[in-house]
Amino acid sequence: MAKMATIYIDNKPYTVKEGDNLLHACLSLGFDIPYFCWHPAMHSVGACRQCAVKQFKDENDTLGRIVMSCMTPAVEGTRISIDDEEVRAFRKSIIEFLMTNHPHDCPVCDEGGECHLQDMTVMTGHSYRRFRFKKRTYRNQYLGPFVNHEMNRCIQCYRCVRFYRDYAGGRDFGAFASHHHVYFGRHKEGALENEFSGNLVEICPTGVFTDKTFKRHYTRKWDLQTAPSVCVHCGLGCNTIPGERYGLLRRIQNRYNGAVNGYFLCDRGRFGYEFVNAERRIRQPLMKRSSLPVPREEVMQHLSRLIYFGARVIGIGSPRASLEGNFALRSLVGEDHFYTGVSAMDARLLEKIIMVLAKGPARSSSLAEAGAADAVFVLGEDVTNSAPLLALSLRQSVRLKPMEIDKRLHIPEWDDSAVRNAAQQEKRPLFVATPYRTKLEEVSTQAYHAAPDDLARLGFAVAHELDNRSPAVKGLPKKLHTLAEGIARVLSQAEHPLIVSGTGCGSEAVLESAANVAWALCRKNRSADLCFAVPECNSLGLALMGEGSVSDAFKAVHDGAVDTAIILENDLYLRAETEDVNSFFDKVRNVIVIDHSVTGTASKADVVVPAAAFAEGDGTLVNNEGRAQRFYQVFVPDRDIEESWRWLRDIMAASGRPGLKHWTGLDDIVQAMSNSIKAFKNIAESNVPAGYRITGQHIPRQPHRYSGRTAMHANISVVEPKPPEDKDSPLSFSMEGFSGQPPAGLIPRFWAPGWNSVQALNKFQSEVGGPLTGGDPGQRLFEPVQESTVSYFDEVPGAFSPRENELLLVRVYHIFGSEELSAMSPCIAESAPGPYIGLKPEDAELFQVSEGRDVRISINDKEYSLPVKYLPELPSGVGVLPAGLRGLEGLELPAWGRINNQAKG
């Protein structure tokens, strides 16, 4: 427990955590103190001077002294005044200074209406302009497809550069010049390179950095209909707030979850949403024999004929669909005919992960916990590209080392510059072992590059060092042994070591070795955590539900037992090789696809029904931690779009299948799920039932200033339509309802009186920077078995040996391009690389190819021609191919590829 102190604010006593800075303490107590440079995740630097309060020595001191609350610790007996006249005048003068150069362009500024500077200006009471001289002006820069730059609005709070460089580790951005010409931008115009650049939009307290995708279909914040949601672009399940108007999804903002993403999102998560608005959307049912969309009734009739009782129907689920959708499909076709729809390899890997997390002694860590680890071993995963926000967390864990120095020097941990000065280059340990060089290595203690089998051997060796009951690795080279020893030593000295791995390099052995390391630590009484990156937003949830992979489904078809296949939100061409998928389609008589976007699979279907995208429906996703999280419908989509589970329920009803279920709302299906699948027993625990009301009221999706409601449909009818009803949640599609704070999982937007910007979030937390009031949302589905007797994995693979004229090909991930849905969004597509093959220059020379030239390579008897990219740090005999990029989908890696270019000699 933190030590508490009594402090006096305007002569009234309050209890706060001792040592916290006064700004943090006062905001947590609910006081309003204006600020700019301070940020709860990036702490204090004392630059803007906005957060001034008056401090008194004791109760007899009437003069007092102005201090910056963000730079002053709260100690027992601290006496301050927020209200003191002199300090109020000073705070007002700071705003007045800032406004001397700030353009008065709020009406045309994207930030208008959710601008922290506006809020603070109103808060301090500065309203009359006295500055009569010319304003300074700047030139803006092109910063790429995500972020817009408007430097004239800058108030030089330095938050952007502190986030971009210090927090996110970005390098291509900085502060330039001095005095009142300080400039924030890039050395040269060009796209921002950091994966977290989009956070500048929320970090910047004014409109310097704004969301460029939002700009193209801009709407004021108060005209956005919003609901709590969960990101669908990787397995971490960051919480988001999508905003809609007129049926168009307009933007994504961060939704704070203290246990998951905290204040930040990655650029894929923030800007990947535009697939929802894309041309490729399926908006009405389609049938192969008709070139026009087909009315719903007709489709239902047709479907009921296909799925008549007794027809042999299989269902292929999807890791990017909700639990409810998958469960409905499983209910329709029966457990035995349900396939999870992931590749055979992913199925094996995910099954292993679940086994490790649910049966072993090591706990799966949340992102927040990962950020607090004191020694990290990354085994086989390129987290920056496959689970971006985990990389951001790990960067913070590395930074924690200084805290120990700070304690010695009595530097409070919130004194950001002092912490950095004292720490200099010192870091907490982070070991990264991956096939290719990953970005996280910039901050690592040591990195190791090897083929997956060798990575696993390193893992096994580390585990063996920690506990000799874990199997030994035979024939380990001396250097590797030393490395393993070193890693084992550091991990065993840590209090909260973390082992990170994942499905990235496609190796079960790697997962097993990671598990062994964590288990060995647990058996040494360390609270070792495991964090596995999984590919998709519901990979883990789906794996908890069923087993069969796409290949099993194919096999079922080849065995001749299937009339109809229902494919749920899944593009099989991404899961298996094209030929196999094609022959599957040839064999199945009827293919029904339920999806929101046209994919290769949808275009093969006999019937396609339009599914809701994440913003158009509700559902549950289980993230890599095993945390079930609810996402809520943001808006009612047009035409026939419906949640997959509703389609499936109706199909079931129409076909008179025995599984017929009377699910009216989401609560019913969730209840059914929790009754029938053990892993989901507690799934509804953190959910609020649809019937929940606060003082009899709904929670409105529309802000109370939502405008134009009566005119929105005036072109159709001047009669204001009744807002659609929501059967699934306590949220309403209207602006009427309870305006106070809803339960944490139901917060549709952050707003509080006087706080129109994202900073209103302070008012929703139990303590600034802490959990949301009432606890962070989400429900962990499994916990480790404390006294687990599970035995160590004991199949240590042999050392990798390169083959002549062949390469072992492993996947390389790209944050932009490797994920299916975001890749349909134009700005992400623009940022994705083209297909290529990454080779070690020495290997390339052997095959007589050079950078940029094409290499011809056969993988599983299929030839690919790909331009070469040099990756000097690859192990020899290993090549990489980008995951999920056009032309390479469906390739199951690792696999051996034969080089067909003329080899030397």
Binding site: A47, Q50, V67, F90, S93, H180, A418, A422, A423
Partner: protein, 431 residues
């Protein structure tokens, strides 16, 4: 009158060679300290001598050293930094000390570094001081060649490296924490205190920063003791002070005089009074960031406390005389223009307030002032005052403005009322 700092300098302005310096007793003090005294004894001696910093803030030097963690458990390396950035307008004393006798500074630095058991010393020299750069570089090389620097100096167990760093122009680099950032190759933004540099300074390691003149005093204190040193002065603070005068006096220049010499004596005896046709109007006593003083203060002693009592500061001890043909509004405008341009841009009041102030003063000077301007200026002097800004640059900038608004109130009002400067075309003066 003893002039320990400058007495031995050559009249032709050329620097003392190491041989000349040694012949005059040079490096004896360093030898004595390093081989015959403990670091603590050196610290105490400086404390006893009541040596106060000559860089502007006037902190007790021995006390400053005593905050450094000492002994085997102290973090290493420790750094000693010489502040030779001298960019305060009107200030030119350190240049003379470095040009005339670079070895004196080196010796003082060796002793001071020894007092805190520093491993590495840097001289942070402003980039425009080209002659200093050459002479210091040569002198450092000479000192190395005699093993006064490097490993096991004076045959003791003490090692000290010395490196010359030249800056690239920016007044804020003289602020000791901004200086440290600059030395680390970062933007020269000041750092918040605590932690103080003595605890977490250069590269996070214990560091002391001292001014050139401060350090030049040190060898003499070691050689002659605290009592002698105190006896040099006419006030309670030890030693002599390099005073300077610029402006329309007969012989502008620098003089080493007992600490506590009066303003009158400095201007009329040493600078030989005002030039023909010019009357004394006021004086900025200690560099640009000190408050204006007038006729009534001429008999104030130029030392830390007396100046404070008179409502100003000793600052760097180099004064700028304003004569009766010089427009005080123009003078203040010039000063604030300087500060606005030299703000580092880190904190709001300084970055945004100073240009506003300079704008208003420019307007007033050019006859476009408005009656409310004086009130706005007065408010700004408040908002840019101590504790309210991040470092002392902005409060320093407010000192001359604050006093000018009182002392020269009539001038300001006349400018605004008459819509022009009454001192001549360019605002400055009549010939």
């Amino acid at each position: 009158m003893e002039r320990p700092l400058t007495g031995s300098m050559r009249p032709d302005g050329l620097p003392l060679s190491i041989k000349d310096y040694e012949d005059k007793g040079g490096y004896q003090a360093a030898r004595k300290a390093v081989t015959g005294m403990s670091p603590k004894e050196v610290q105490d001696l400086a404390k006893d001598a009541n040596l106060r910093g000559r860089g502007g803030a006037g902190f007790n030097t021995g006390m400053k050293w005593s905050f450094v963690p000492m002994g085997d458990s102290a973090p290493r390396p420790k750094y000693f930094v010489v502040n030779a950035d001298e960019m305060e307008p009107g200030t030119f004393k350190d240049r003379m000390l470095m040009e005339g006798n670079p070895h004196q500074l080196i010796e003082g630095t060796i002793i001071a570094a020894y007092a805190i058991e520093a491993d590495i010393s840097y001289i942070f020299l402003r980039g425009e001081y080209k002659i200093c750069e050459k002479r210091l570089a040569a002198a450092i090389a000479e000192a190395y060649s005699r093993h006064y620097l490097g490993k096991k100096i004076f045959g003791s167990g003490y090692n000290l490296e010395m490196r010359l760093h030249t800056s690239a122009g920016r007044y804020i680099c003289g602020e000791e924490t901004a200086l440290l950032n600059s030395l680390e190759g970062k933007r020269a933004i000041p750092r918040a205190r605590p932690p103080f540099p003595q605890v977490s300074g250069l590269w996070g390691k214990p560091t002391v920063v001292n001014n050139v003149e401060t350090l030049c005093n040190v060898p003499h204190i070691i050689n002659n003791g605290a009592e002698w040193y105190k006896g040099l002065s006419r006030s309670q603070y030890g030693g002599t002070k390099i005073y300077g005068v610029s402006g329309r006096v007969k012989t502008p220049g620098l003089w080493e005089l007992p600490m506590g010499t009066t303003i009158r004596e400095i201007i009329w005896e040493h600078a030989r009074g005002m030039r023909e046709g010019y009357q004394f109007r006021s004086v900025i006593p200690g560099g640009a960031s000190t408050e204006f003083l007038t006729e009534e203060h001429l008999d104030v002693q130029m030392d830390f406390d007396s100046m404070q009592k008179a409502g100003s500061r000793l600052g760097t001890g180099t004064m700028i005389v304003i004569d009766d043909h010089t427009c005080p509004v123009g003078a203040v405008h010039n000063l604030e223009q300087f500060f606005a341009r030299e703000s580092c841009g880190w904190c709001t009041p300084c970055r945004e307030g100073l240009p506003w102030i300079a704008n208003i003063l420019h307007a007033i000077e050019n006859g476009q002032g408005r009656p409310e301007d004086l009130e706005i200026l007065a408010q700004h002097t408040d908002s840019l005052w101590l504790n309210k800004t991040f470092c002392a640059l902005a409060p320093g900038a407010m000192e001359p403005l604050r006093s000018a608004l009182q002392i020269f109130r009539e001038d300001f009002i006349r400018h605004i009322k008459e819509g022009k400067c009454t001192y001549g075309k360019n605002g400055n003066n009549l010939h």
